[in-house]
């Protein structure tokens, strides 16, 4: 019985999907306690384009099936199952993307094996067992799950949960083409890029302004911060009442219920009505100069301070980082210099 890990890799317009890099990184760690090789399987990919993307990744070999269509989970699952039969891996990791989540359960049934979806953490035992960790009951409980007897042990992981793999060295893993055994039955009629309707309820990052923001012009600063953080501006009722922002931006009982990953409140006291709109926010960072502000009861990161001093500093830091990144990408990569 081998301890190999197989990963479903995803590709897109920009090459290898970030979630794939995260899985490879995790697999590298998971291989340490018990050894074993790491393999990848790519569906619907272009072999030539793929090579560069795989450079420096700790993969022994990557199977590619160009004939597969990612919109057909049945077709893709069959191909991956084929790959599983060939390799008989101990673990199969799939990203919790739309594509991955459609395919994973089909593979699990095809292989008659266990699958744990949306793991937030993974561990490996010295005898190759995969510990699958995820929240249950809506986050009220954490569970550690194992797959006792069947193989591969399957898990899906949401993108952005694990850190991406660091590339090392210059090697490109061997590519091997897989033939599609059975054609799928779905016919694609057309594809269009998704037009996102960006209301505040759909945002992942929100900057919320409250009564502590004194003048309408000050909102420009917060709008800028929102932009730098890749999010949007919202507010409490107070600012809608003052006419600073329209009702569409209001969070609370008589406004929107939001569930961003990050909510940064500036000068919001946190009334009962406001709190009702933010209960599902993942991380709440609250900035307020009043130590008794109710928002501090809910905030994961309560910051006692003056928003007029802190926000400009935050903006400065983010702008500096942005500039640094831009200058870095202008430098040639170290590997190219070495190979010359």
């Amino acid at each position: 019985m081998n301890q190999d890990i197989l990963i479903c890799l995803e590709t897109g317009e920009n090459g290898l999907h970030p979630s794939s890099l995260e899985l490879v990184g995790k697999a590298f760690e998971l291989a340490k306690p018990c050894g074993g090789n790491i393999y990848g399987v790519v569906l619907d990919g272009n072999a030539e384009k793929l090579r560069e993307d795989l450079r420096g990744l700790p993969l022994k070999q990557v199977y590619i099936c160009p004939a597969c269509h990612t919109f057909d989970a049945q077709e893709c699952a069959e191909t991956v199952a084929q790959c599983v039969r060939q390799l008989d891996p101990s673990v199969l990791l799939i990203a919790g993307t739309c594509f991955g989540r459609a395919m994973a359960p089909r593979i699990a049934v095809a292989c008659r094996t266990g699958l744990t979806a949306d793991c937030t953490e993974l561990e490996r035992t010295p005898d190759g067992g995969l510990i699958q960790i995820r929240p249950a009951f809506g986050g009220d409980i954490m569970a550690r799950i194992v797959t006792d007897h069947t193989r591969p042990q399957m898990a899906t992981v949401r993108p952005g949960v694990m850190p991406p793999c660091e590339r090392e060295g210059n090697q490109i893993p061997k590519l091997c083409t897989l033939n599609r055994e059975t054609a799928g039955h779905i016919c694609l009629l057309d594809v269009q890029p998704l037009k996102l309707v960006a209301g505040i309820a759909e945002q992942k990052v929100l900057i919320a302004a409250g009564r502590g923001v004194k003048r309408k012009e000050d909102l420009m600063m917060l709008e800028h911060l929102a932009e730098l953080m890749g999010g949007a501006l919202a507010c409490s009722r107070a600012l809608v009442e003052k006419g600073f922002l329209p009702h569409e931006k209001q969070i609370g009982l008589s406004g929107a219920t939001v569930h961003p990953d990050v909510l940064l409140t500036c000068g919001i006291s946190g009334s009962v009505q406001f709190q009702a709109g933010i209960r599902r926010a993942k991380t709440i960072i609250a900035v307020n100069s009043d130590p008794d502000a109710k928002i501090f009861d809910l905030a994961h990161i309560p910051v006692l301070g003056d928003l007029y001093e802190i926000i400009p500093k935050l903006i400065d830091r983010l702008e500096n980082e942005k500039n640094n990144v831009n200058t870095c990408s202008a430098l040639p990569s170290v590997e190219h210099i070495e190979s010359v």
Binding site: K214, S254, A256, V272
Partner: protein
């Protein structure tokens, strides 16, 4: 205890000198006491200075009762603990501090280790209001239809008077004769809009939850059909051995369209499907009791609705706590969206406040009252909507004034209509209070006003509490 408890009024407290009516006031200082002890300490300081005090809780009031006109503003929303629970011989009592919000009360009731599930019948749909606010206005819930007047669900109250004395008012203990009325002293304080004293604790009478509860919404293409249905509900109440109608609400087309219009902005209405604009009115009912009894009652109601032209295939029917909560949220969205519109208009014209009637007409037929309103609204320029409780014909008519001129005209109309309503046998101050907003519209001879003048002389002759309310 050297920490400063009384804060000077400044910009950062601006949100506290206003309530849902958009009426804005002012104050010299503000406090947020967290216990009876703190309340008393702050009060003794203010008494020494001779500063009058206005009490406020959740700021959900719609007549400005909790908005100060000067002096000190005491916000008791931080006094929100559950103090005691007792249960003897089927009497379930819960003593709480006044700042406890109704949503919190519901959660606390779920946590009680009681033999049966309990609830508190006065359930105004404004769930972020405080228990103290319910006591101060004697606000009805939609369950008043079957469960009756709010006051009976207060068993006792602990009140601090102007001179600093603390009184325990227990139901049935002490009675007063006020202008020929024989009043339980506790009832004198309930609905007194904070003008006689401040509540530091309230004992609520809870009752067991019904086994099953259904919520039904009938839609009518012509509002007169809805009125007919309501008439029949009144003249021929629907009741079976094991179930009865506990709530009956009327919602006119204008109110429905208002919600449909603002729905996108209110996440919590996300589960309610859109309502066909062909409908001119709807009636929302709740039936509680045993399942078989509820089904018989629903059967009767369905037939009546059909006779009144309402299609039972398009009527909504839900059961279960969560589903009923969704429909109640919908019902509550009416005054909420009204208040949003008024707030918007107020921003452009600061003279604008909420203008709504809060009149019940016991003993009349629903269609009579609707026709009465039709008559008195004839020629009134601003748009309006009417919704409310069918029991006692206790509906609210809201006017959407657009500018200062209309505000003035409608204020005059209100003064007039309140007098006409009294003539027509109405009771003109039922659950929202009079406060400052309605004060000038009320005739001096209104019973509630007259009663309060007498009580005020007894309990607060110096005018320490909530000056400006009612008169």
């Amino acid at each position: 205890m050297n920490k400063r408890r009384i804060f000077s009024m400044d910009e950062s407290y601006a949100e506290y000198v206003r309530d849902e009516s958009q009426f804005t006031g002012k104050a010299k200082s503000i406090s947020f006491p967290r216990s009876e002890e703190e309340i008393r300490m702050i009060l003794s300081e203010l008494r020494e200075q001779g500063t009058p005090v206005t009490v406020q809780g959740g700021k959900t009031g719609i007549v400005g009762s909790g908005v100060p006109l000067g002096g000190h503003l005491m916000n008791v929303a931080d006094c929100n603990r559950v103090l005691r629970y007792s249960e003897t011989d089927g009497n379930y009592l819960l003593t709480v501090e006044p700042g406890l919000r109704l949503t919190e009360l519901k959660q606390e009731l779920a946590k009680l280790h009681s033999p049966v599930r309990l609830f508190w019948p006065p359930e105004p749909t404004e769930t972020s209001a405080t228990v103290g606010g319910v006591a101060a206005t004697a606000a009805c819930g939609i369950g008043a239809y079957a469960y009756g007047d709010t006051k009976q669900y207060f068993e006792a109250a602990r009140v601090i008077l102007a001179d600093g004395t603390v009184r325990e008012l227990n139901r049935g203990e002490r009675f007063l004769d006020v202008n020929g009325e024989h009043l339980d002293e506790l009832d004198a304080f309930l609905g007194s809009e904070g003008m006689l004293g401040i509540f530091s604790a309230l004992t609520l009478r809870l009752i067991p939850c019904p086994t099953e509860q259904w919520g039904i919404a009938f839609f009518f293409e012509n509002r007169r059909d809805a009125w007919k249905f309501a008439d029949e509900l009144q003249s021929n109440p629907v009741r079976s051995e094991t179930a009865e109608v506990i709530a009956a609400e009327y919602i006119d087309g204008e109110s429905i369209w208002l919600i449909e219009d603002k729905k996108e902005l209110l996440s919590k209405l996300g589960n309610i499907p859109p309502i066909d604009p062909v409908f001119d009115a709807m009636i929302y009912l709740e039936i509680a009791g045993e399942e078989s009894g509820i089904e018989s009652a629903a059967e009767i109601l369905m037939e009546r609705a059909m006779h009144c032209g309402s299609d039972p295939d398009r009527a909504w029917a839900v059961s279960g706590e969560k589903e009923i909560e969704a429909l109640r949220t919908f019902r509550h969205a009416i005054p909420e969206t009204i208040n949003l519109v008024i707030e918007e208009n107020h921003r452009n014209h600061p003279e604008i406040t909420k203008i709504s009637t809060d009149i019940s007409f016991p003993g009349k037929m629903f269609s009579q009252v609707m026709s009465w309103y039709e008559k008195y609204l004839d020629g009134v320029k601003p748009a309006h909507c009417i919704f409310g409780h069918i029991g006692d014909n206790h509906v609210h008519c809201n006017l959407f004034v657009k500018d200062a001129v209309e505000q003035k005209q409608c204020a005059e109309w209100m003064s007039w209509i309140l007098r006409e309503a009294l003539d027509f046998g109405g009771c003109i101050a039922r659950e929202n209070g009079i406060g400052k907003v309605k004060r000038d519209w009320f005739p001096d001879y209104d019973t509630a006003v007259v009663r309060m003048r007498t009580l005020k002389k007894i309990y607060d002759p110096k005018g320490f509490w909530n000056p400006g309310n009612m008169f």
